[in-house]
């Protein structure tokens, strides 16, 4: 198999309400890799994640994003998801009245149909879901509830990863999934994520904390600042950031002219 990147972003610019937020992002994620994106509040991390998922509030003004060599940006959000893109939201919405089982089954079958696979019937679907619930230590009560309705912050995050486990994406983008998780939940979620890692898929983790990266060890760490990646390095970069804060990379950024 040729080593075609799963995700390739080239000089991507995006704005919201006419204000430019992403100012030239370059990023290549190869199969089997985990990339971490760190950076101060408001630097554009979630914007990047939402742009990749296809949120229409964010307008791409120039640049490219390719998923396995194909133009990602021309696809509707549902087509991206069916092609294997999964965004674990920083703030998952509550959907009162939307039954979790119905929702997940609709999602799984939409993806399967797209892949030319047969849709799962109720029994097969339940078997799949039960298996994933065990991995992520999620209770069955969740399936009977409305999607995210009344969930605690941590429960919402865990539910995102549970959905990811069920949908088995090629490219998973986790936007601050670790925020709001207690230490035990963090370990469970990280274990779950690690089990989903394979040489065929890839992950992008947006996080503020080095702690997550102790459990899910990244291949590359990037620092996003004012809409650009100003520094990339190995996993030790996260440690350095934890120690020194963002100031020392910011200084570096001023030198190369960001800001």
């Amino acid at each position: 198999m040729s080593q075609q990147p799963i995700l390739e972003i080239r000089d991507l610019h995006a704005s919201v309400e006419g204000k430019e937020i992403l100012k030239g992002i370059n990023l290549t994620v190869n199969p089997g890799e985990v990339h971490a994106i760190m950076g101060p509040n408001g630097s554009g991390k979630s914007t990047l994640a939402q742009v990749l998922a296809g949120h229409k509030a964010y307008e791409v003004t120039s640049g490219k994003a390719l998923l396995r060599g194909n133009d990602l940006l021309e696809l509707d959000p549902e087509e991206r998801a069916r092609e294997g893109v999964f965004l674990a939201f920083q703030y998952p919405v509550e959907l009162p009245g939307v039954n979790s089982t119905y929702f997940l089954k609709a999602a799984v079958n939409a993806v399967r149909k797209h892949r030319g696979e047969e849709e799962l019937d109720a029994a097969d679907f339940l078997a799949l879901v039960r298996q994933k619930m065990k991995v992520l230590d999620v209770g069955e009560a969740l399936l009977r509830r409305s999607v995210n309705e009344g969930f605690s912050g941590g429960e919402k995050k865990r539910n995102e990863i549970f959905q990811m486990a069920v949908l088995e994406p090629t490219l998973a983008i986790l936007d601050e999934t670790d925020s709001g998780l207690d230490i035990d939940a963090l370990r469970v979620v990280a274990d779950g994520v690690n089990k989903l890692r394979s040489p065929e898929n890839a992950m992008v983790l947006v996080t503020h904390y080095q702690r997550l990266l102790e459990y899910i060890v990244p291949d590359v760490v990037h620092v996003l600042y004012k809409g650009r990646i100003i520094k990339s390095g190995g996993k030790e970069l996260a440690l350095e950031l934890e120690e020194h804060g963002y100031d020392w990379v910011k200084e570096h950024a001023e030198e190369v002219g960001v800001g």
């Binding site: 949120h55 959000p77 549902e78 919405v93 009245g97 999602a107 939409a110």
Partner: protein, 438 residues
């Protein structure tokens, strides 16, 4: 408006011919008086305050063939089960074009003085009972459609649950309209009495089979809930798109009784539901909920009245509308709190989801409060589907049309979940989703 009522007046002569000896009964005098009343009132126009937003000119201009006697039909029991609710029921009474269809019905065992049957048979046996029940319907407002119904009174369901009897399984009433060769009309009358400490659940469902000709369904359902009785009444209307439906529901509640009424309106070109309850005994409780859907150029008008005539009663009303395309909804919620009805607690809410720029809703509460120590709240809202919610579903691979359907159903789900029968909830979920995914 005389010309449009004329065909009904002519049909009345035909009805009298078909009645044979029955026209000698005092009940028939009631029919005649009702016809006179209808004739005097005529069909309403948009100049009538109660019909301001609902123009029934297309109905008034259509000639409907009265189906005066039961006619042969080709509907099989399997067909009837496929077009309506097929879950568990204690009894299933099926009517075709206004007449009882024994071959399609399943009457379960009745004991302890419970009576479940069709009105035509009861009229033959004891017309006085029927007459009395019908006379108890208060004519609070001049209602030409209820008058027309009584004038053409023939058949419907008759249910009598004596004191202390509890019927666990629902009683399913299925009304099938069929108009293969010309437009037809059915004036059904359902009389339901549930005695003191008794309990019953009624599913009243309206469907159509075959033929593109309009049907006009003009049913009146009366419920009398005795002291401490509990009655659940679920009305499901999903007739064919070219039809007309004017449905009247009237419940009277005695001391400490409970009536839960839920009305689902999904079909027909023009629908008007008059849904009324009189809380006539202290401590009675009424919930009055509804879901209405208008696609294409459908018009659904819900006029409700909750009449608090005794102290310490509570009423909860929740009507939720989904208006799409050029669909139109009308909601008028009248709450009367009479002078004696102290400590009344009444909550009314009408929420609407507008799925297109051309859909319309006219919503108005009407509060008439004559007591001083009462709690009455009401509110109406209009909203759209949330973009963030839609994006969340799409980001999981669910297509836009399905995502919209899921969120729209979720909006109506709040009412569906008030139904106490899980099988019926599932049925309605499927029914609503089929309509929504179109």
């Amino acid at each position: 408006m005389h010309s449009t009522t004329e065909s009904f007046l002519k049909n009345f002569a035909l009805l009298e011919h078909s009645l044979n000896g029955e026209s000698e009964l005092p009940l028939h005098q009631l029919r005649r008086r009702s016809l006179e009343r209808f004739s005097a009132l005529g069909f309403p126009t948009t100049r009538d305050e109660d019909w301001r937003f609902t123009n029934i000119a297309p109905l008034a201009a259509t000639h409907f063939r009265p189906v005066l006697l039961p006619e042969p039909h080709s509907i099989t029991p399997a067909q009837a089960a496929a077009i309506g609710y097929a879950g568990q029921s204690a009894h299933r009474l099926v009517f075709v074009n206004g007449h009882f269809a024994p071959g399609l019905s399943q009457l379960g065992e009745v004991g302890n003085g419970v009576a479940v049957g069709n009105l035509a048979a009861v009229i033959k046996a004891d017309a006085g009972v029927v007459e009395q029940f019908i006379e108890s319907l208060p004519a609070t407002r001049p209602d030409p459609f209820a008058a027309l119904n009584t004038a053409f009174l023939r058949d419907g369901a008759f249910i009598s649950v004596p004191n202390g009897s509890i019927i666990q399984q629902p009683i399913h009433l299925l009304f099938i309209g069929a108009a293969p060769s010309e437009a037809t009309v059915a004036h059904l009358r359902n009389l339901i009495s549930v005695g003191a400490n008794a309990q019953a659940t009624i599913i009243e469902e309206y469907v159509s089979v075959g033929g593109g000709n309009p049907t006009f369904t003009n049913p009146v359902t009366q419920i009398a809930a005795g002291e401490n009785a509990t009655v659940n009444h679920y009305r499901i209307q999903h007739e064919q798109e070219s039809g007309f439906h004017v449905g009247t529901f009237h419940a009277t509640l005695e001391r400490a009784s409970t009536v839960n009424s839920i009305t689902f309106t999904l079909g027909s070109a023009i629908v008007r539901n008059n849904t009324n309850a009189v809380l006539g005994g202290p401590g009675a409780h009424c919930t009055m909920d509804g879901v209405y859907l208008a696609n294409g150029t459908q018009l659904v008008d819900n006029h409700t009245t909750l009449d608090h005539a005794a102290p310490n009663c509570t009423s909860h009303e929740l009507y939720k509308g989904v208006l799409n395309d050029r669909g139109r909804g009308v909601f008028s919620g009248r709450i009367i709190v009479r002078q004696d009805a102290q400590k009344t607690d009444s909550k009314q809410s009408n929420r609407n989801l507008l799925l297109s720029d051309t859909a319309i809703i006219d919503s108005k509460p009407q509060l008439e409060i004559f007591a001083d120590d009462v709690k009455c709240t009401h509110g109406a809202t209009i909203g759209q589907l949330s973009d963030e919610s839609l994006f969340y579903l799409r980001a999981r691979g669910i297509g836009l049309a399905q995502a919209r359907a899921i969120l729209t159903y979720a909006f109506a789900e709040e009412v569906v979940e008030h139904i106490a029968i899980p099988e019926l909830c599932d049925y309605l979920e499927a029914l609503l989703n089929t309509r929504l995914e179109h």
